[in-house]
């Protein structure tokens, strides 16, 4: 079923509000990961507000789809999405990274409902997603599993071990996505340790691979729909994105990996995001 114009508009509006919340909470907190939260905002919006099945009042609901944030440093994105989806009060966002908060610097499944598993050490999420997908297969259950990876994260060897496992066990209930923003901490991915050609690699590992503009909501939801129809192998959606997407202040700037906005940058960004409402 094709997505309607109105649905798309609602999703774009949602992504904009998610970016606004991310920036506010990060500015308020003074530490955290800006660039990689913003680059994946459209992807997470499509997953949580279009594709995935879940019930925020019953985080442990058996029939839910699972989302694993393998690039755990994008916690501000996950928290914003979970708050807007109704897992917890929006007001709790301001406790980010404070002693006693459920909103840890990296997602902690011990304390925050909606977080499937604690992450933060890169390269481990896809293996966990495989395990969940295998469990659903054993149960003959229709649940789907989604995992979001960073492009720098693809440098971890465990990712490629998991890539083999997923294809070997024909995990067609698994869909992974790469936030292919071209940057990591020490610079451009291509300069630090090249990972291209990403699509060819996943194809060679036995995956169905879709390559989309990770800021084009229609393309993202179409790819997510398509992934559901692929049988006998897992699907990887390579999302071409811009790190820091949402404001000129942060876009494509490597230093905004782990730096938070100043008050002035926040004001500029708010203006840009607000003006983009009816785009």
């Amino acid at each position: 079923m094709a997505v309607t114009e109105q649905q798309l508009q609602t999703l774009k509006d949602r992504a904009r509000r998610i970016r606004i919340d991310i920036l506010k909470m990060l500015t308020d907190c003074g530490s955290g990961h800006t660039g990689g939260s913003l680059s994946a905002a459209d992807i997470a919006t499509a997953l949580y507000f279009y594709k995935m099945k879940y019930d925020p009042r019953k985080p442990g609901w058996k029939e839910r789809d699972n989302f694993i944030l393998s690039k755990g440093h994008a916690a501000p994105l996950l928290y914003t999405v979970l708050a807007q989806a109704g897992y917890f009060e929006h007001a709790e966002l301001c406790t980010l990274r404070k002693i006693g908060s459920r909103l840890q610097g990296h997602p902690d499944s011990k304390c925050l409902p909606g977080v499937e598993i604690s992450t933060g050490s890169l390269g481990q999420g896809l293996s966990v997603a495989n395990g969940l997908a295998l469990a659903h297969k054993l149960d003959k259950a229709p649940n789907r599993v989604y995992a979001l990876l960073g492009d720098g994260e693809l440098q971890e060897g465990q990712i490629w071990e998991a890539a083999m496992t997923a294809a070997h066990y024909k995990l067609d209930n698994l869909c992974a996505l790469v936030d292919n923003n071209g940057l990591q901490i020490d610079g451009p991915v291509a300069k630090v340790m090249g990972v291209e050609p990403i699509t060819d690699k996943w194809r060679a590992f036995g995956w169905e691979v879709l390559d989309v503009d990770g800021h084009d909501m229609e393309k993202i939801v179409t790819a997510l729909d398509k992934a559901e129809t692929i049988k006998g192998k897992p699907t990887m959606i390579v999302c071409r994105t811009v790190k820091g997407k949402g404001s000129k202040c942060f876009e494509g700037k490597v230093e905004f990996h782990g730096t938070t906005p100043t008050k002035e940058e926040l004001a500029t960004a708010m203006k840009e995001l607000e003006e983009g409402v009816c785009k």
């Binding site: 907190c29 840890q104 990591q184």
Partner: protein
């Protein structure tokens, strides 16, 4: 007295970055590897000065350890850096199999150890690294207390033949070691011997131990302070002497009380000089998000906590 005037403050990771550059000037066999954290670990300073001898392996810590092993066989002196949790956790078996088992000359210098990593939270706060490095045969384990001691420790491990693990922190710390202090691998530094109890501390906890000592003095308690910057090989003689002299020991570390300094000291005491012991450290728990200073208090790692532990140890002695 270290905290009388305006003590200089430098993070041990900054001292490491500077030490690498001066080492690089002196020796052209020195090579440095990092895993996409060179700005944070400060190896970026070396990378800038000697781009041909710096290798960014990307986010691939296991691969990095193996590569360092190969470089060592090839006659180079590799320094390998990333956050402590990844260097010692993610790549543990590579460190064991490819570096320690063949006894290769690789120096692992990890930064962002302990809870003072702060806001990044428990996933990034290494509180087990001393334990898991100490247990590997051939490995030497060093935890410098301040900037100047880090500089000396880096020079010392460069001279030493064999695998070494040096633990550095993220935040600025006061200089505690005296000006004429000379670091030697395996040798503890005794600030003052003490009479009623001795505090054996390592890393950033040495500064807290000195503060605790001064607090206790006002209450008429004479506590000795020992900087145990080499955890392995442990200066057993210093531990035995302190236990014999004072009859009560407190250990203090920014690490789990299991398997680290407290564990190592407990082993010596139990075997050679039984005395009451109270261990300050994380009590079998992970870290959490928060500001570094606040977390030290949260986990009972402040000077006040050490002072209380000293009194507890003394009480145990009397009963």
């Amino acid at each position: 007295m270290f905290h009388g005037g305006n003590v200089s403050k430098i993070a041990t990771r900054d001292a490491y970055g500077d030490a690498l550059v001066s080492l690089g000037k002196k020796r052209n066999d020195v090579v440095v590897l990092d895993a996409d954290l060179s700005g944070s670990t400060k190896t970026a300073k070396f990378a800038k000065a000697f781009p041909d001898r710096f290798f960014n392996i990307g986010i691939a810590e296991q691969d990095m350890m193996g590569t360092a092993a190969g470089l060592a066989i090839g006659g180079k002196l590799p320094f390998v850096s990333t956050f402590a949790v990844f260097a010692t956790g993610r790549a543990w078996e590579q460190v064991r199999q490819s570096i320690c088992y063949p006894n290769l000359n690789v120096k692992i210098v990890a930064t962002h150890a302990g809870v003072t990593v702060g806001e990044d939270g428990g996933s990034h706060q290494s509180v087990e690294d001393i334990a898991v490095m100490r247990v590997i045969p051939h490995m030497t384990v060093i935890v410098p207390a301040d900037g100047p001691e880090t500089l000396q420790a880096i020079e010392a491990v460069a001279e030493y033949q064999g695998p070494c693990y040096v633990r550095a922190g993220r935040n600025k710390v006061p200089t505690v070691c005296p000006e004429n202090y000379r670091f030697r691998i395996g040798k503890a530094h005794v600030f003052n011997e003490g009479k009623h109890a001795a505090i054996i501390a390592t890393g950033i906890m040495v500064a807290e131990a000195l503060k605790a000592r001064d607090q206790l003095k006002a209450e008429g308690i004479d506590a000795g302070v020992i900087n145990m910057s080499t955890i392995k090989p442990l200066d057993r003689d210093a531990v035995i002497a302190a236990a014999t002299r004072c009859g009560a020991i407190v250990t203090a570390e920014e690490h789990s009380i299991i398997g680290g300094l407290g564990g190592a000291v407990a082993e010596v005491l139990a075997e050679s000089a039984p005395a009451p012991l109270v261990r300050i450290g994380l009590k079998d728990t992970f870290g959490t998000s928060g500001d570094g200073e606040g977390l030290l208090k949260h986990y009972g790692l402040s000077a006040g906590d050490i002072a209380a532990a000293v009194k507890e140890a003394i009480k145990k002695k009397k009963s």
